[in-house]
Amino acid sequence: MSKASDISGQTGGSGRITRLRYRTRIAMREPTTLIGLFMAALFTYLIVVPIISILLDAVQTQFGDARRTDTEVGEWTSYYLNRTFFSPIARDMFWEPLRNTLSVALGAIAVSLFVGGILAWLISRTDMFARRWFATALIVPYMLPAWTFALAWTTLFKNRTVGGQQGWFEAMGFTPPDWLAYGQVPITIILALHYTPFIILLFGSALRRFDSQLEDSAQMLGASRSRIAWSIILPLMKPALISAIVLIFAKCLGEFGVAYVLGLPVKFDVLATSLYRNLGSRQTGVAGVLAASIMILGIMTLLIDAYLVREARKFVTVGSKGSMNRLTQLRKLRLPAAGFAALIFSISVGLPVLTLALSTVMHVPARFTWENFTLDYWLGTGLDTVALQQGILLTPELWSAAWNTLWIVGSASVVSGLLGLLVGYAVVRTPLRPLATFLRQVTFFPYLVPGIAFAAAYLSLFAVQRGPVPALYGTMAILILALIADQMPYASRAGISAMMQLGKEPEEAAQVAGSGWFHRMTRIVVPIQKGSLVTGVLLPFISGIKGLSLFVVLAVPSTDVLTTYSLRLVDYNYTQAANAVVLIIAALAYFGTVAAQKLTKTNLAEGLGG
């Protein structure tokens, strides 16, 4: 036998130690694993611990509740579970909101499927007029915050059920009934319009990749057009449709802003607003139960999605070589089709933006006379109001909110972009596979938790001092941390896929050429990944600017961001000012997205869900 086996023979008992030394040496030769371990610890603290904390809140007696639960503070109790699910107020607190959430979500899905399905087909498989322009234009609603539409809706349809400035219809002499002005109907319509782009993007791209030869083969065998649509096209579109539906459902679960603006006047609660209400009235334990319920619903939905998509994908061969995309000739219907698309565009973008914009330059709603128009609400001084007597652009609060937004969202996005790349690096490179799996899963977890529940979890963990960590409530730090954790699913996905695409070889080539780890990172890996790093920072930044549900729980007046500031203005009934701020946010979000796309040459579909 050779020399090698002699060596191990001689060393005998110490052989195992040598082996261990060798393995450690190999593993620690590069800091990859060390970085991975650090990341794992960091995200356990930022993601897992807050969630455990709020789950514990739901089953442990909270401060001040000792008498009610008959236990000491911190002991186990089923009081909150009983209160949320079985007590006399359970109906108002949980079951009604649950029913409302589900019916709104399902309604929104049905409407957006119908509208979006037609539009997706028109855009990707027909010769409709201006279809390229519509392909971009019809995505715009998704770039704007959903409650932009809610504010536009109230501006138009508001009635005397709530005070403040009149709605336009009311001012013109037609009083909209409550069911049209508030609650289920407008919320469903607005969410449907807001999420229609999901269907257009996901369903449309599946349609585009669909191979016309599959249709041709069926036709050659004598199948009719409806038969082809039903038994060839539809089954193959199933995965894309399921994904879009589930995505919309999950988003609706955590939807706060729209329900807050339009549901409150008629006490139409969804789970998110009920949670917010309980947080506001310091029902920490019940809030914990509600947050947990929202989380479980979210997780269940996405698990079902994962299962269904896996089942459906088994047979998918879309996008094979020689794939063809043939457009359907609309002939006489070309013009009506374009008209339909234009109608949807004007309802979902044109009308709301125009309404909001006009409302900020009019003294009295819906009076279209020359003297009624004014720029006072933007730039004026000495307005005839209780507070906020100057135009919004002259209000220091706006600028401090803008500065906060930039600072909080900006720093969180930069940090999460960098962390995402590091996570990607550690996941792809570490020889310790369990570590990679854990990192991948833990950073993805916030995706399953709607923002408002996640914010509640942060409140539960960081509201008081714990060990060396001071109470963070009321500081910017809690917002930044929560935002980082909330953005990690996208950041780490981007980082992992970028590192996967890069592959090992460019780095190994540098290594063989004599380059050490740090040199490789700074000269090879980061420069090559520059583009994806920019995307990984910009996309979360844009979604952070228009985000509301996370901030509404965690922000206080001194840490107001633009979204919470505008919501405060809504609460005080400064319609013009609120609408102006929302317009600013919408403009930032829209132009930011467009700029990001130009800059990074990325496609919107990739940033979807952000």
Partner: protein, 372 residues
Amino acid sequence: MPGITLKNVKKSYGAYEAIHHLDLEVADGEFLCLLGPSGCGKTTTLRMIAGLENLSSGELAVGERVVDCPETASFIAPEKRGMGLVFQSYALWPHLTIEQNVEFGLKLRKVAKVERQKCTTDVMQSLGIEQYRARYPSQLSGGQQQRVALARMLAVNPDVLLLDEPLSNLDARLRLEMRAELKRIHDKFSTTIVFVTHDQWEAMTLADTIAVMNEGTLQQLGTPDDIYERPANRFVAEFVGSPPINILEFGGTGELVQEAMRFLAKQHPEIFDIGSVGIRPEAISLVSGKEALATGDFGAPACVAAILPTGGSWIIELETGGTTIFMNTHVAPSVREGDRMWFRVEAHALNVFDTQGDRIRAADDAFSVAAA
């Protein structure tokens, strides 16, 4: 220039053992090809030499220096081994220009600027990529990229050059040119080269020595002639050669096999335990009839089933007693499909394998004695 020694090397990924037991010595300045089908462990071997994979057990030394040995917990990082590695995908750095790619290693070695530029220019000139120095890799064709990958490694003049299927992404003509280029480089710098390929012709044309691998074990180590003419076992015999070697399994019922068994039993009774016989297609020639066979030759009647011209040579498919065999000829065949002929094989061109599939060396000796 140092040699490379692998002693009793094993490599496993979890329960899966990729390299079972590898002893291999690459002499100083040698051009060694690792040849084998995909998944045979040749790339793993190369990556272990480079240090990109570590050993599970055994010892790897470059010259006198042990660079990897789990038993003594020694491991030298790839960046400290001073080797050059060219990847199949070239792995050029997309964010650096051609010149920056080539001078990367020199910069790392802190070579002074003047010398660095001279060296970079020299190597780029000798590979004919000097005019692309300011371009980025994505602006070059596959062949040019391949040259850059080579230039990048040659610039630092490594003691050992490792090449992982560097020519497999090139078209046929370029591949031929680059083979010549590689041979020239090897002659000029007398670098120790380990070259991984699954292309037998590449291995044949380039290597001083070929190491044929399969399923994580070394099958044969020898010169290209050895490998082709005296394959150590059935695997090597069947892997190398196109059209493939004709194998006659002993104990079969086909007429041809019976004929072969009778021939060997009669002429060479001293050879026993025969499992199969292999005949290279070019060792077969057509004759008019039985009377044209010499006494020491093996032959049988056959029917021409098909003639396949391959441009400059012809593959002839022969049908003989229920068996199909291929022959290869460089002379335009005068026969036509359907003709009945005899074919003959000189005894020393027979490859005789035992029942385990290993070559019976004694048979070679017996044939050469008989021929003499």
